[in-house]
Symmetry: C2
Subunit: 111 residues, 2 copies
Amino acid sequence: MYLESILVLSQTHDEVHSVDVANYLGYSKPSVSRAVGVLRDRGLLDMDEHAHLILTEAGRAIAEKVYERHLTIAEFLGKLGVQASVAEADACRIEHIISDETFRAIKAHLQ
Amino acid sequence: MYLESILVLSQTHDEVHSVDVANYLGYSKPSVSRAVGVLRDRGLLDMDEHAHLILTEAGRAIAEKVYERHLTIAEFLGKLGVQASVAEADACRIEHIISDETFRAIKAHLQ
DNA sequence: TATACAAGTTAGTTTACGCTAACTGACGCG
DNA sequence: CGCGTCAGTTAGCGTAAACTAACTTGTATA
């Protein structure tokens, strides 16, 4: 979720700070600070000297995978007749828990 | 998940014990014992003098709702072409997180 | 230049939910 | 009769991920 948020925010902001992620997700600054530390330890993002959050290649790959799932699932739910705002919210939860196989089936169904 | 397990087990067992739930879910006895305590405090189940687990009306309602979701989602994923065992596993996770609206849309689609 | 705010971190708390180890109590069997 | 086993509970641990309070630090402005 954090990686995905950074990716999404980077599409509309030149630079992404921890505080932007906190506002976007509705979390506290310390929660984001902790998460950034964990993700940095795992080699998924870096912070430059101005505290801008930069996804590494590995982090960007994960973020893009999750974001693609998000868009696909939300579109899929929309086609099932689910209201857009609800589809968004459910996509946020579903994107993290379904198997690759189920995701591929959903994607194939849309095409 | 616990309530749903008790409902499912009660379909094949005359009586459901904590240890049955533990085996079914692959959790330890203390984990089930704690969960049973929490669910009892919330008025969702009772234990009789022989430690049989009995769902209350409220508990049964939740268990049936979740179980219906499980069956419906698994069937839905099956129709999308997801392998049965994977559909089962994904249904287990999805059933707990989707909104009522999304569930209704899935159910309507099957009919 | 001093102050005040904004961003980020540190420290410590809470809740949830797994676990193991060890205790209690009932029950069957040699 | 006593002993082992099985079910359930208690106590305590670990991790994850949220929180608040309070600290640091850098920057902008009055």
